[in-house]
Subunit: 229 residues, 2 copies
Protein backbone atom coordinates (compact mmCIF):
# COMPACT_ATOMS: atom_id res chain seq x y z
CA UNK A 1 0.00 0.00 0.00
CA UNK A 2 0.83 3.69 0.10
CA UNK A 3 2.84 3.47 3.33
CA UNK A 4 5.31 1.10 1.62
CA UNK A 5 6.25 3.48 -1.21
CA UNK A 6 9.77 4.97 -1.19
CA UNK A 7 8.28 8.45 -0.71
CA UNK A 8 6.39 7.21 2.36
CA UNK A 9 9.36 5.38 3.89
CA UNK A 10 12.19 7.72 2.91
CA UNK A 11 10.16 10.94 2.89
CA UNK A 12 10.79 13.73 0.43
CA UNK A 13 14.11 12.29 -0.77
CA UNK A 14 12.26 9.12 -1.83
CA UNK A 15 10.36 11.09 -4.48
CA UNK A 16 12.32 11.56 -7.73
CA UNK A 17 10.58 14.88 -8.51
CA UNK A 18 11.27 16.39 -5.07
CA UNK A 19 14.47 18.26 -6.04
CA UNK A 20 12.57 19.97 -8.89
CA UNK A 21 9.63 20.83 -6.64
CA UNK A 22 11.93 22.09 -3.88
CA UNK A 23 13.60 24.45 -6.37
CA UNK A 24 10.23 26.24 -6.77
CA UNK A 25 9.81 26.96 -3.06
CA UNK A 26 10.76 30.45 -1.87
CA UNK A 27 12.85 30.97 1.30
CA UNK A 28 10.70 29.97 4.28
CA UNK A 29 12.42 31.71 7.21
CA UNK A 30 9.73 33.17 9.47
CA UNK A 31 6.98 32.35 6.94
CA UNK A 32 3.57 30.75 7.32
CA UNK A 33 3.01 27.59 5.25
CA UNK A 34 -0.01 25.44 4.36
CA UNK A 35 0.38 21.89 2.98
CA UNK A 36 -2.75 20.54 1.26
CA UNK A 37 -2.76 16.75 1.39
CA UNK A 38 0.09 16.56 3.90
CA UNK A 39 -0.05 12.79 4.38
CA UNK A 40 2.55 11.71 6.96
CA UNK A 41 3.76 15.30 7.39
CA UNK A 42 7.16 14.97 5.69
CA UNK A 43 6.87 18.33 3.95
CA UNK A 44 5.47 20.09 7.05
CA UNK A 45 8.51 19.01 9.07
CA UNK A 46 10.86 19.95 6.23
CA UNK A 47 9.29 23.44 6.02
CA UNK A 48 9.72 23.90 9.77
CA UNK A 49 13.33 22.77 9.40
CA UNK A 50 13.76 25.47 6.74
CA UNK A 51 12.71 28.05 9.31
CA UNK A 52 8.97 28.40 8.71
CA UNK A 53 7.33 30.00 11.76
CA UNK A 54 3.97 28.23 11.32
CA UNK A 55 2.97 25.19 9.29
CA UNK A 56 -0.56 23.89 8.79
CA UNK A 57 -0.91 20.37 7.39
CA UNK A 58 -4.31 19.43 5.95
CA UNK A 59 -5.37 15.91 5.01
CA UNK A 60 -8.57 13.94 4.71
CA UNK A 61 -7.05 10.76 6.19
CA UNK A 62 -7.34 10.24 9.94
CA UNK A 63 -4.72 7.49 9.81
CA UNK A 64 -2.14 9.58 8.00
CA UNK A 65 -2.67 12.55 10.32
CA UNK A 66 -2.31 10.31 13.36
CA UNK A 67 1.04 9.08 12.11
CA UNK A 68 2.04 12.62 11.13
CA UNK A 69 1.32 13.81 14.69
CA UNK A 70 3.33 10.95 16.21
CA UNK A 71 6.36 11.96 14.16
CA UNK A 72 6.05 15.70 14.81
CA UNK A 73 7.27 17.59 17.86
CA UNK A 74 6.80 21.18 18.97
CA UNK A 75 3.84 23.49 18.51
CA UNK A 76 4.80 25.22 15.24
CA UNK A 77 3.22 22.50 13.10
CA UNK A 78 -0.51 21.94 13.35
CA UNK A 79 -2.49 19.23 11.56
CA UNK A 80 -6.18 19.43 10.70
CA UNK A 81 -8.47 16.97 9.03
CA UNK A 82 -10.42 18.43 6.13
CA UNK A 83 -11.71 17.48 2.72
CA UNK A 84 -10.05 19.72 0.13
CA UNK A 85 -13.40 20.03 -1.68
CA UNK A 86 -14.79 21.93 1.31
CA UNK A 87 -11.64 23.59 2.60
CA UNK A 88 -11.69 27.09 3.99
CA UNK A 89 -8.62 29.01 5.16
CA UNK A 90 -8.25 32.39 6.87
CA UNK A 91 -7.71 35.24 4.39
CA UNK A 92 -4.19 36.61 3.74
CA UNK A 93 -2.81 34.37 6.45
CA UNK A 94 0.07 32.54 4.73
CA UNK A 95 3.03 32.90 2.40
CA UNK A 96 3.14 29.50 0.72
CA UNK A 97 0.42 27.04 -0.20
CA UNK A 98 2.02 23.72 -1.13
CA UNK A 99 0.57 20.45 -2.35
CA UNK A 100 2.20 17.26 -3.57
CA UNK A 101 0.18 14.76 -5.63
CA UNK A 102 -3.13 15.46 -3.92
CA UNK A 103 -5.16 17.59 -6.35
CA UNK A 104 -5.92 14.78 -8.78
CA UNK A 105 -7.93 13.10 -6.01
CA UNK A 106 -10.15 16.17 -5.48
CA UNK A 107 -13.44 16.05 -7.39
CA UNK A 108 -15.00 19.47 -6.78
CA UNK A 109 -11.87 21.36 -7.68
CA UNK A 110 -13.15 24.63 -9.18
CA UNK A 111 -12.94 26.63 -5.94
CA UNK A 112 -9.66 25.32 -4.46
CA UNK A 113 -7.32 27.72 -6.28
CA UNK A 114 -9.54 30.63 -5.20
CA UNK A 115 -9.35 29.43 -1.59
CA UNK A 116 -5.54 29.23 -1.91
CA UNK A 117 -5.39 32.68 -3.52
CA UNK A 118 -7.44 34.28 -0.72
CA UNK A 119 -5.36 32.54 1.94
CA UNK A 120 -2.10 33.88 0.52
CA UNK A 121 -0.71 37.27 1.32
CA UNK A 122 0.03 39.42 -1.77
CA UNK A 123 3.29 38.13 -3.24
CA UNK A 124 2.69 34.68 -1.73
CA UNK A 125 3.24 31.50 -3.75
CA UNK A 126 1.31 28.40 -4.68
CA UNK A 127 3.56 25.42 -5.52
CA UNK A 128 2.06 22.05 -6.36
CA UNK A 129 2.51 18.79 -8.19
CA UNK A 130 -0.21 16.59 -9.64
CA UNK A 131 -0.32 13.49 -11.79
CA UNK A 132 0.25 14.33 -15.44
CA UNK A 133 -2.90 14.06 -17.58
CA UNK A 134 -1.16 11.54 -19.83
CA UNK A 135 -1.21 9.21 -16.82
CA UNK A 136 -4.79 9.90 -15.82
CA UNK A 137 -6.46 10.21 -19.26
CA UNK A 138 -6.68 6.65 -20.63
CA UNK A 139 -9.84 4.65 -20.09
CA UNK A 140 -7.54 1.60 -19.64
CA UNK A 141 -4.12 2.91 -18.54
CA UNK A 142 -1.09 0.73 -19.16
CA UNK A 143 2.01 0.20 -21.28
CA UNK A 144 1.52 -1.69 -24.55
CA UNK A 145 4.37 -3.13 -26.59
CA UNK A 146 4.08 -2.14 -30.23
CA UNK A 147 4.77 -4.30 -33.32
CA UNK A 148 8.48 -3.49 -33.11
CA UNK A 149 8.78 -4.34 -29.43
CA UNK A 150 8.82 -0.77 -28.15
CA UNK A 151 6.80 0.34 -25.12
CA UNK A 152 3.99 2.80 -25.89
CA UNK A 153 1.37 4.40 -23.65
CA UNK A 154 -1.96 4.36 -25.51
CA UNK A 155 -4.02 7.49 -24.85
CA UNK A 156 -7.72 8.03 -25.27
CA UNK A 157 -10.31 10.33 -23.67
CA UNK A 158 -7.65 13.01 -23.15
CA UNK A 159 -10.17 15.87 -23.33
CA UNK A 160 -12.86 13.93 -21.47
CA UNK A 161 -12.24 15.20 -17.96
CA UNK A 162 -13.60 13.60 -14.81
CA UNK A 163 -13.34 10.50 -12.67
CA UNK A 164 -11.14 7.52 -13.54
CA UNK A 165 -11.20 4.35 -11.46
CA UNK A 166 -7.86 2.55 -11.22
CA UNK A 167 -6.43 -0.29 -9.21
CA UNK A 168 -3.13 1.37 -8.31
CA UNK A 169 -2.05 0.23 -4.80
CA UNK A 170 -5.68 -0.50 -3.93
CA UNK A 171 -8.69 -1.55 -6.00
CA UNK A 172 -11.19 1.12 -7.01
CA UNK A 173 -9.07 4.21 -6.43
CA UNK A 174 -10.82 7.22 -8.00
CA UNK A 175 -8.69 9.89 -9.64
CA UNK A 176 -9.88 13.06 -11.32
CA UNK A 177 -8.49 13.54 -14.82
CA UNK A 178 -7.84 17.19 -15.69
CA UNK A 179 -5.74 18.57 -18.52
CA UNK A 180 -2.82 20.96 -18.20
CA UNK A 181 -5.04 23.52 -19.92
CA UNK A 182 -7.72 23.20 -17.23
CA UNK A 183 -5.27 23.51 -14.30
CA UNK A 184 -3.79 26.59 -15.98
CA UNK A 185 -7.19 28.16 -16.71
CA UNK A 186 -8.32 27.68 -13.11
CA UNK A 187 -5.07 29.24 -11.81
CA UNK A 188 -5.45 32.29 -14.04
CA UNK A 189 -9.17 32.65 -13.27
CA UNK A 190 -8.39 32.61 -9.54
CA UNK A 191 -6.09 35.59 -10.10
CA UNK A 192 -2.69 33.88 -10.01
CA UNK A 193 0.24 34.74 -12.25
CA UNK A 194 1.78 31.51 -13.55
CA UNK A 195 5.52 31.42 -12.84
CA UNK A 196 6.41 27.79 -13.66
CA UNK A 197 4.92 24.82 -15.48
CA UNK A 198 6.99 21.67 -15.79
CA UNK A 199 6.23 18.27 -17.23
CA UNK A 200 8.71 16.47 -15.04
CA UNK A 201 11.38 14.15 -16.36
CA UNK A 202 14.39 12.51 -14.70
CA UNK A 203 17.99 13.65 -15.12
CA UNK A 204 20.60 11.36 -16.68
CA UNK A 205 22.09 10.84 -13.21
CA UNK A 206 18.71 9.77 -11.82
CA UNK A 207 18.25 7.25 -14.63
CA UNK A 208 21.74 5.88 -14.02
CA UNK A 209 20.91 5.39 -10.35
CA UNK A 210 17.43 4.01 -11.09
CA UNK A 211 17.05 2.74 -14.68
CA UNK A 212 13.27 2.28 -14.28
CA UNK A 213 12.96 6.08 -14.33
CA UNK A 214 13.84 6.11 -18.05
CA UNK A 215 10.19 5.28 -18.68
CA UNK A 216 9.27 8.78 -17.47
CA UNK A 217 10.80 10.18 -20.65
CA UNK A 218 8.37 8.11 -22.71
CA UNK A 219 5.35 9.30 -20.73
CA UNK A 220 5.70 11.65 -17.74
CA UNK A 221 3.97 10.89 -14.42
CA UNK A 222 4.23 14.28 -12.76
CA UNK A 223 3.63 17.92 -13.54
CA UNK A 224 4.79 20.79 -11.35
CA UNK A 225 3.23 24.25 -11.17
CA UNK A 226 4.21 27.45 -9.40
CA UNK A 227 2.14 30.63 -9.31
CA UNK A 228 2.20 33.94 -7.49
CA UNK A 229 -0.57 36.00 -5.93
CA UNK B 1 -1.19 18.96 -50.55
CA UNK B 2 -1.51 21.89 -48.18
CA UNK B 3 -3.37 24.09 -50.66
CA UNK B 4 -6.23 21.55 -50.79
CA UNK B 5 -6.98 21.62 -47.03
CA UNK B 6 -10.25 23.24 -45.90
CA UNK B 7 -8.25 25.94 -44.09
CA UNK B 8 -6.41 26.76 -47.33
CA UNK B 9 -9.52 26.77 -49.52
CA UNK B 10 -12.04 28.30 -47.12
CA UNK B 11 -9.59 30.39 -45.11
CA UNK B 12 -9.98 30.96 -41.40
CA UNK B 13 -13.52 29.55 -41.26
CA UNK B 14 -12.19 26.27 -42.61
CA UNK B 15 -10.18 25.75 -39.43
CA UNK B 16 -12.21 24.25 -36.56
CA UNK B 17 -10.08 25.97 -33.91
CA UNK B 18 -10.37 29.44 -35.47
CA UNK B 19 -13.32 30.65 -33.37
CA UNK B 20 -11.34 29.82 -30.20
CA UNK B 21 -8.20 31.50 -31.48
CA UNK B 22 -10.14 34.57 -32.63
CA UNK B 23 -11.60 34.94 -29.12
CA UNK B 24 -8.04 35.54 -27.83
CA UNK B 25 -7.34 38.43 -30.19
CA UNK B 26 -7.72 41.95 -28.76
CA UNK B 27 -9.56 44.70 -30.73
CA UNK B 28 -7.41 45.58 -33.75
CA UNK B 29 -8.73 49.02 -34.74
CA UNK B 30 -5.73 51.20 -35.65
CA UNK B 31 -3.27 48.57 -34.43
CA UNK B 32 -0.10 47.14 -35.93
CA UNK B 33 -0.09 43.37 -36.43
CA UNK B 34 2.55 40.75 -37.32
CA UNK B 35 1.60 37.26 -38.55
CA UNK B 36 4.41 34.69 -38.29
CA UNK B 37 3.89 31.95 -40.87
CA UNK B 38 1.18 33.84 -42.74
CA UNK B 39 0.82 31.31 -45.58
CA UNK B 40 -1.76 32.55 -48.08
CA UNK B 41 -2.43 35.68 -46.01
CA UNK B 42 -5.93 34.80 -44.78
CA UNK B 43 -5.26 36.14 -41.29
CA UNK B 44 -3.49 39.26 -42.56
CA UNK B 45 -6.54 40.20 -44.63
CA UNK B 46 -8.89 39.38 -41.75
CA UNK B 47 -6.85 41.62 -39.40
CA UNK B 48 -7.00 44.46 -41.92
CA UNK B 49 -10.76 43.89 -42.19
CA UNK B 50 -10.95 44.23 -38.39
CA UNK B 51 -9.41 47.69 -38.72
CA UNK B 52 -5.70 47.03 -38.22
CA UNK B 53 -3.69 49.99 -39.58
CA UNK B 54 -0.66 47.91 -40.57
CA UNK B 55 -0.17 44.20 -41.07
CA UNK B 56 3.09 42.39 -41.72
CA UNK B 57 2.89 38.81 -42.96
CA UNK B 58 6.05 36.69 -42.65
CA UNK B 59 6.54 33.31 -44.29
CA UNK B 60 9.42 31.18 -45.50
CA UNK B 61 7.55 30.00 -48.61
CA UNK B 62 7.97 31.99 -51.83
CA UNK B 63 4.99 30.23 -53.39
CA UNK B 64 2.64 30.97 -50.52
CA UNK B 65 3.69 34.61 -50.37
CA UNK B 66 3.17 34.98 -54.10
CA UNK B 67 -0.37 33.72 -53.79
CA UNK B 68 -0.92 35.88 -50.69
CA UNK B 69 0.15 38.97 -52.64
CA UNK B 70 -2.16 38.11 -55.54
CA UNK B 71 -5.12 37.96 -53.19
CA UNK B 72 -4.26 41.13 -51.25
CA UNK B 73 -5.04 44.69 -52.27
CA UNK B 74 -4.02 48.02 -50.80
CA UNK B 75 -0.81 49.03 -49.09
CA UNK B 76 -1.67 48.35 -45.44
CA UNK B 77 -0.61 44.69 -45.69
CA UNK B 78 3.01 43.90 -46.42
CA UNK B 79 4.51 40.45 -46.94
CA UNK B 80 8.15 39.53 -46.35
CA UNK B 81 9.97 36.29 -46.81
CA UNK B 82 11.95 35.21 -43.76
CA UNK B 83 12.92 32.11 -41.86
CA UNK B 84 11.46 32.33 -38.35
CA UNK B 85 14.72 30.91 -36.98
CA UNK B 86 16.51 34.07 -38.07
CA UNK B 87 13.70 36.60 -37.80
CA UNK B 88 14.31 40.10 -36.58
CA UNK B 89 11.61 42.73 -36.06
CA UNK B 90 11.81 46.43 -35.12
CA UNK B 91 11.54 47.01 -31.37
CA UNK B 92 8.22 48.10 -29.80
CA UNK B 93 6.65 48.38 -33.24
CA UNK B 94 3.48 46.30 -32.98
CA UNK B 95 0.48 45.46 -30.81
CA UNK B 96 -0.19 41.85 -31.77
CA UNK B 97 2.10 39.03 -32.81
CA UNK B 98 0.01 36.19 -34.18
CA UNK B 99 0.92 32.75 -35.46
CA UNK B 100 -1.18 29.80 -36.53
CA UNK B 101 0.34 26.32 -36.70
CA UNK B 102 3.81 27.48 -37.71
CA UNK B 103 5.99 27.22 -34.59
CA UNK B 104 6.22 23.42 -34.63
CA UNK B 105 8.13 23.70 -37.92
CA UNK B 106 10.77 26.02 -36.44
CA UNK B 107 13.91 24.23 -35.24
CA UNK B 108 15.96 26.96 -33.55
CA UNK B 109 13.07 28.23 -31.47
CA UNK B 110 14.72 29.50 -28.28
CA UNK B 111 14.97 33.13 -29.43
CA UNK B 112 11.62 33.57 -31.22
CA UNK B 113 9.55 34.52 -28.16
CA UNK B 114 12.20 37.08 -27.20
CA UNK B 115 12.03 38.55 -30.72
CA UNK B 116 8.22 38.75 -30.40
CA UNK B 117 8.49 40.29 -26.92
CA UNK B 118 10.86 43.02 -28.11
CA UNK B 119 8.70 43.74 -31.15
CA UNK B 120 5.59 44.27 -29.03
CA UNK B 121 4.72 47.53 -27.35
CA UNK B 122 4.12 47.22 -23.58
CA UNK B 123 0.63 45.75 -23.14
CA UNK B 124 0.85 44.07 -26.55
CA UNK B 125 -0.23 40.47 -27.07
CA UNK B 126 1.18 37.27 -28.48
CA UNK B 127 -1.50 34.82 -29.66
CA UNK B 128 -0.53 31.54 -31.29
CA UNK B 129 -1.52 27.98 -32.01
CA UNK B 130 0.77 25.01 -32.49
CA UNK B 131 0.35 21.30 -32.89
CA UNK B 132 -0.28 19.63 -29.56
CA UNK B 133 2.68 17.58 -28.27
CA UNK B 134 0.49 14.48 -28.12
CA UNK B 135 0.38 14.70 -31.90
CA UNK B 136 4.07 15.36 -32.40
CA UNK B 137 5.59 13.13 -29.68
CA UNK B 138 5.24 9.56 -30.97
CA UNK B 139 8.10 7.96 -32.86
CA UNK B 140 5.44 6.29 -35.06
CA UNK B 141 2.29 8.46 -34.87
CA UNK B 142 -1.05 6.86 -35.64
CA UNK B 143 -4.28 5.51 -34.23
CA UNK B 144 -4.23 1.92 -32.99
CA UNK B 145 -7.36 -0.09 -32.25
CA UNK B 146 -7.12 -1.76 -28.84
CA UNK B 147 -8.24 -5.28 -27.89
CA UNK B 148 -11.79 -4.03 -27.32
CA UNK B 149 -12.02 -2.23 -30.64
CA UNK B 150 -11.50 1.28 -29.31
CA UNK B 151 -9.19 3.80 -30.97
CA UNK B 152 -6.13 4.73 -28.95
CA UNK B 153 -3.19 7.02 -29.73
CA UNK B 154 0.00 5.32 -28.51
CA UNK B 155 2.49 7.79 -27.09
CA UNK B 156 6.22 7.40 -26.61
CA UNK B 157 9.18 9.81 -26.47
CA UNK B 158 6.95 12.54 -24.97
CA UNK B 159 9.84 14.20 -23.11
CA UNK B 160 12.33 13.58 -25.92
CA UNK B 161 12.08 16.90 -27.73
CA UNK B 162 13.34 17.57 -31.23
CA UNK B 163 12.77 16.65 -34.85
CA UNK B 164 10.13 14.17 -36.02
CA UNK B 165 9.85 13.15 -39.65
CA UNK B 166 6.31 12.43 -40.83
CA UNK B 167 4.60 11.81 -44.13
CA UNK B 168 1.62 14.11 -43.56
CA UNK B 169 0.57 15.70 -46.89
CA UNK B 170 4.09 15.20 -48.23
CA UNK B 171 6.82 12.64 -47.50
CA UNK B 172 9.62 13.63 -45.15
CA UNK B 173 7.98 16.62 -43.44
CA UNK B 174 10.05 17.59 -40.39
CA UNK B 175 8.24 18.82 -37.31
CA UNK B 176 9.77 19.93 -34.03
CA UNK B 177 8.28 18.21 -31.00
CA UNK B 178 8.10 20.46 -27.93
CA UNK B 179 6.09 19.95 -24.76
CA UNK B 180 3.54 22.35 -23.30
CA UNK B 181 6.00 22.82 -20.44
CA UNK B 182 8.73 23.97 -22.83
CA UNK B 183 6.51 26.45 -24.71
CA UNK B 184 5.39 27.86 -21.37
CA UNK B 185 8.92 28.08 -19.96
CA UNK B 186 10.17 29.92 -23.07
CA UNK B 187 7.25 32.37 -22.86
CA UNK B 188 7.92 33.15 -19.20
CA UNK B 189 11.69 33.39 -19.75
CA UNK B 190 11.11 35.89 -22.57
CA UNK B 191 9.22 38.08 -20.09
CA UNK B 192 5.62 37.34 -21.08
CA UNK B 193 2.72 36.93 -18.68
CA UNK B 194 0.69 33.90 -19.72
CA UNK B 195 -2.98 34.80 -20.11
CA UNK B 196 -4.41 31.69 -21.81
CA UNK B 197 -3.44 28.08 -22.45
CA UNK B 198 -5.94 25.81 -24.14
CA UNK B 199 -5.73 22.23 -25.32
CA UNK B 200 -8.32 22.66 -28.01
CA UNK B 201 -11.37 20.43 -28.39
CA UNK B 202 -14.48 20.72 -30.56
CA UNK B 203 -17.89 21.81 -29.30
CA UNK B 204 -20.87 19.44 -29.47
CA UNK B 205 -22.25 21.51 -32.37
CA UNK B 206 -18.97 21.13 -34.29
CA UNK B 207 -19.03 17.36 -33.83
CA UNK B 208 -22.63 17.22 -34.99
CA UNK B 209 -21.70 19.14 -38.14
CA UNK B 210 -18.49 17.13 -38.66
CA UNK B 211 -18.46 13.79 -36.78
CA UNK B 212 -14.78 13.19 -37.58
CA UNK B 213 -13.94 15.95 -35.11
CA UNK B 214 -15.00 13.68 -32.20
CA UNK B 215 -11.53 12.13 -32.46
CA UNK B 216 -10.09 15.41 -31.15
CA UNK B 217 -11.56 14.60 -27.74
CA UNK B 218 -9.56 11.38 -27.66
CA UNK B 219 -6.30 13.14 -28.55
CA UNK B 220 -6.16 16.88 -29.27
CA UNK B 221 -4.38 18.23 -32.37
CA UNK B 222 -4.09 21.89 -31.41
CA UNK B 223 -3.02 24.00 -28.49
CA UNK B 224 -3.66 27.72 -28.18
CA UNK B 225 -1.63 30.21 -26.16
CA UNK B 226 -2.07 33.89 -25.37
CA UNK B 227 0.44 36.03 -23.47
CA UNK B 228 0.92 39.70 -22.69
CA UNK B 229 4.03 41.87 -22.68
Amino acid sequence: GYSGLPRSVDGLEGAPEWASLRALIPPLGGKSVVDLGCGFGWFCRWARGEGAAKVLGVDVSHNMLERARQQTHGGAIRYVRADLEELSLPKESCDLVYSSLAFHYVAGFERLFSVAYSALRPGGCLVFSAEHPLLTAPSRPGWVTDAEGRPTWPVDDYLVEGARVTNWLAPGVVKQHRTIGTYTRLLLEAGFALTHLEEWGPSDAQIEANPALAQERQRPTFMLFAARR
